[in-house]
């Protein structure tokens, strides 16, 4: 295993650990295992021994053959050999990532601060390493930050001395919230122009490179780009390359040019070739998605922000946090989903418990009666919202509800319907039992993540996080001792780290229902959903009993309104009928406190409940008390997410009287907007329309109640009219009108002439190879043209002389303004 280290003196060092012998396990008849052991020892350097390990599902101790592989590169081939030897043998731990296994074994993690005892410095890095090293990525890059900030001198040559690791000790803890970030040198590479447009679709400018935010443009005018880039790499020797489209376009392009020039481009710090994987299209949640090919490096980290979940969603701070807790190699972690990260965290717990990790999941869903299936196969509860404009609305959120359920109720694949607890309490609705004797693997993983996420939340609220950040260069006032390595992260850093932990937690729940997840079991997924439904109903009932009106509820959050003494009859169902007027769905005039006649109703459509005798006064304490009471009743943490001055719940676009769960906007007491399901949140809305809607909403966010809202709406309409005017006079820049859509099939397979199909065919004709799941960009030129090709134009093929379709974009503006005006009166 090769480990790259940044020493305190800022020197980069390459280390090899020959002591690492990863093990996998084989289960089967003992005679067959003995034969296998013989065969294995005859063909490779392995140590075989019979041992006992635990089965995850029934906790039985199984007698298995442990195969310790002396050369890690032979790990996967030997596992394949076993499968070919006898396909009836069960393999365990045989397809785990070696770098992560190394971390588990040595109790380290990527980017950890470590202490290493190394042998004498060996040879310089040179080509011709044994294959043992060729297959292994930079598994861990333990970092130790020194005080020195001296950069490398010009034309510095860095021979990387390779030493052998005698011992490695972790001086860090992945569960710390205050830690030193890796002291890496970063080089940023991108293309001129719009960064979101795939350069393979035909439009890209020169390469831009930045070291410490000092951008310089490389073009082929003076000397070839690859040559300049090679010099920059040699001089600055970055640890991290952060690129846009680096995986599929930039780095392969630079390598090709370097090859033509007979130039050695030292992208790897090793002398090994750069590793590439192929692109692919795949389905996820009913959508077809596209994954670009990847280009990963040895001795250096390459992060492509256009091909990275972590770096895209949570930025670098989140990525560092992700690799610390999951122990996945950085380059792998940033290109995979958080689901893989959470799986590896579960596998680590299992591995440390001596539990066998099946190579392929062999735990099918249990047989169910159709009635049971109907009862069990349901998700969280979603209440359609009351439509209208509502003042003084509070949002109460269960904090990490599903993970909290897993932690609190010990829901884990191996604890649901376990064989050891026949008398265990039952899950509501379903009657599943949950183990009372053993703590579940998933529960243990999520409780640590929840705790760390909560710590970050508290740190965000603490005043220190606002005034000091590791970027500031000011000594940390919170440092406890002179040699303390802890650093208080800034509030922004805390947020990024919290976000990545949130993604891990979300995926942890999702993976319990994923058929291929090794720690997945659909019954666990169903039990969590059943408990979530139960808790949401308890919260709804508690709110209603205390005189609150539930306007909307979405799986783990409820929107309630404090409305005087409003309630559904003091005695509950049946007693207080006919329903009080406030419960009627007929809109209520918010100004005159009376129900509107049907004619007025059609004119205004205002749905606020204002029939209460007392004027509505926002009272945060009431809501906080309610949150506490619900928390006590449900046993799950519940937070008052926000008190909104007003919330506007909008109907379906197809049917004006039918509410949809995810189309609303609210303005908090502090004036912050929360928008769901509107055009500005969609990826396929042109930037021009998004900007208009955001401006309009920002104006409306200044309103405090319905009457000021109506006043602000006049102001907002002026903005809208200005945008329409700009559209009509043709002064809108083309890039403002770009619409982005995801291809659902290959260009030739589209049957109808939708805008996406036309643009895809244009690109296809231009020689662009498009795959399902890729995004393409286009501009509507003349939506009603009889010539199909004139209706839209692919953005990367755009010529300046083409005009845009004023009517089509005008309609898009009107559609985006409609939510603001829907319940307003001018």
């Amino acid at each position: 295993m090769v480990v790259w280290l940044i020493e305190s003196s800022q020197q980069r060092r390459r280390l090899i650990d020959h002591s690492f012998r990863p093990c996998f396990y084989v289960q089967g008849p003992e005679k067959q295992l003995a034969r296998l052991a013989e065969a294995l020892t005859a063909c490779a350097a392995v140590s075989c021994a019979l041992t006992e390990r635990q089965n995850i599902w029934d906790r039985r101790r199984l007698r298995v053959l442990q195969v310790a592989v002396h050369h890690p590169t032979l790990f996967a081939p030997l596992a394949r050999f076993v499968r070919r030897f006898d396909s009836s043998l069960a393999l365990y731990d045989s397809d785990l990532m070696l770098a992560t296994m190394y971390c588990w074994e040595k109790n380290i993690f990527p980017l950890a601060r470590v202490e290493i005892e190394a042998g004498a410095a060996g040879t310089d890095v040179a080509p011709g390493f044994s294959p043992a090293h060729a297959d292994l990525k930079v598994g861990a890059t333990p970092a130790r930050v020194g005080a020195s900030s001296a950069g490398p001198g010009p034309n510095a040559v860095r021979p990387y001395i390779t030493s052998e690791i005698l011992s490695i000790t972790c001086r860090d803890n992945e569960w710390l919230t205050e830690y030193e970030r890796p002291p890496v040198r970063t080089m940023r590479i991108r293309l001129e122009g719009i960064s979101d447009v795939n350069p393979k679709h035909g439009r890209h400018g020169a390469i831009e490179v930045a070291i410490e935010n000092d951008w310089q443009t490389l073009d082929d005018s003076d000397e070839p780009t690859a040559q300049v880039f090679e010099r920059l790499l040699r001089v600055h020797d970055p640890d991290v390359l952060v690129t846009e489209w680096g995986d599929d376009v930039l780095l392969p392009g630079l390598l090709r040019q370097a090859q033509r020039l007979h130039l050695r481009l030292p992208l790897n710090r090793d002398a090994l070739p750069v590793e590439k994987t192929r692109s692919r299209s795949y389905m996820s949640y009913g959508r077809i998605l596209f994954k670009e090919s990847t280009t990963t490096l040895f001795g250096r980290l390459h992060i492509d922000t256009q091909n990275s979940f972590g770096a895209d969603q949570c930025e670098m701070e989140g990525l560092w946090e992700l690799v610390r807790v999951t122990k996945l190699p950085v380059q792998y972690a940033c290109r995979t989903t958080p689901g893989t990260g959470i799986s590896y965290m579960q596998m680590e717990v299992a591995w440390r418990d001596g539990v066998l990790i099946p190579a392929q999941k062999a735990e099918p869903e249990g047989l169910k009666h159709p009635d049971e299936l109907l009862r069990a196969d349901r998700g969280g509860l979603v209440f359609p919202p009351r439509l209208g404009f509502f003042e003084n609305v509070a949002e109460l959120d269960f904090v990490s509800e599903f993970p909290s359920i897993m932690a609190k109720f010990n829901i884990s694949p191996e604890t649901v319907n376990c064989p050891c607890c026949p008398q265990a309490p039952r899950v509501p609705e379903l009657g599943y039992r949950v183990c009372q004797r053993h703590r579940g693997i998933t529960s243990r993983v999520v409780e640590r993540l929840i705790a760390k996420r909560r710590q970050y939340k508290e740190m965000m609220r603490s005043p220190e996080s606002g005034v000091w950040s590791p970027d500031s260069g000011i000594p940390n006032p919170q440092a406890r001792t002179p040699d303390s390595v802890s650093r208080v992260p800034s509030a922004a850093a805390c947020k990024q780290r919290r976000d990545v932990l949130k993604w891990l937690l979300v995926c942890c729940f999702g993976y319990t229902g994923y058929k291929n997840a090794r720690f997945g079991k659909i019954e666990a997924h169903e039990a969590i959903n059943a408990l979530a439904r139960e808790k949401l109903l308890v919260a709804k009932e508690a709110a209603e009993q205390r005189g609150f009106r539930v306007l909307h509820a979405l799986v783990d959050s409820i929107y309630v309104q404090k409305a005087g003494d409003w309630r559904l009859g003091a005695g509950g169902w049946g007693k207080a009928l006919p329903l009080p007027i406030a419960d009627c769905r007929l809109p209520i005039d918010p100004i005159n406190h009376r129900q509107l006649s049907s004619i007025e109703n059609r004119q205004s459509k205002i749905g606020n409940c204002r029939s209460c005798p007392q004027p509505l006064v926002p009272n945060r304490e009431d809501y906080e008390r309610l949150a506490q009471e619900i928390e006590q009743l449900t046993g799950l943490p519940l937070a008052l997410e926000a008190v909104y001055r007003y919330a506007v719940f909008l109907p379906s676009q197809q049917c004006a009287e039918i509410p949809v769960p995810n189309r609303f906007f609210c303005v908090s007491d502090e004036g912050e907007l929360k928008v769901r399901g509107l055009e500005c949140r969609r990826h396929d809305t042109p930037p021009f329309v998004t900007r208009m809607q955001r401006e309009v909403l920002a104006i409306l966010a200044e309103a405090r109640d319905f009457s000021t809202y109506c006043g602000k709406l006049r102001e907002a309409r002026e903005v809208y009219e200005r945008y329409q005017e700009r559209l009509r006079d043709g002064s809108v820049a083309a890039e403002e009108l770009v619409i982005r859509k995801r291809l659902t099939k290959a260009p030739g397979n589209y049957q109808k002439n939708s805008s996406t199909a036309i643009a895809a065919r244009q690109l296809d004709r231009a020689g662009v190879k498009l795959r399902p799941g890729e995004n393409i960009e286009f501009i509507i030129t003349d939506a009603d043209s009889s010539l199909i090709d004139d209706r839209v134009r692919a953005w990367t093929l755009w010529e300046g002389w083409r005009g845009y379709d004023v009517e089509a974009y005008g309609k898009a503006l009107a559609k985006a303004f409609e939510p603001a005006a829907h319940f307003g009166r001018q």
């Binding site: 949640y285 159709p370 009635d371 299936l373 109907l374 009862r375 196969d377 349901r378 998700g379 509860l381 979603v382 209440f383 359609p384 999702g510 229902g513 994923y514 058929k515 439904r533 109903l537 509820a553 009928l577 006919p578 329903l579 007027i581 009627c584 769905r585 007929l586 129900q595 049917c655 009287e657 039918i658 509410p659």
Partner: protein
């Protein structure tokens, strides 16, 4: 990930399409829109249907439609300031259907019986 059983929202749509095919075909044009509107209003109570999840989706749809009618009836009472519960013994004839509308027009009642 992925569900075996359709969501109740999907079931409402499936049932609507099912009923539109034959039942809806035999309705007059002006009545057809009301059939769709009736099914659409079931979505207002979809969370209750989801929670109860009857084996036959139409059972849930029936209860939701009837509940919706009940609520709207109460609402009309409230708007008119009357209570039909006290008037159910009224022996006046029901209004006759008239016109082409999908819903029968209400005929103004004649003068109350004098006897």
């Amino acid at each position: 990930m992925g569900r075996t059983v359709a969501t109740f929202r999907d079931l409402i749509e499936q049932e609507l399409q099912n009923w539109k095919q034959r039942f809806g075909r035999a309705l007059r044009q002006e009545e057809q829109a009301h059939l769709e509107a009736m099914f659409n209003r079931v979505r207002l109570y979809v969370q209750a249907c989801t929670y109860h999840f009857p084996v036959d989706a139409m059972h849930g749809i029936h209860v939701a439609v009837e509940l919706d009618h009940e609520i709207r009836l109460r609402r009309i009472e409230a708007a008119l300031g009357i209570s039909l519960e006290t008037q159910w013994m009224d022996s006046r004839p029901l209004p006759l259907p008239a016109g082409d509308g999908g819903v029968a027009d209400r005929v103004e009642p004649a003068a109350p019986p004098t006897d």
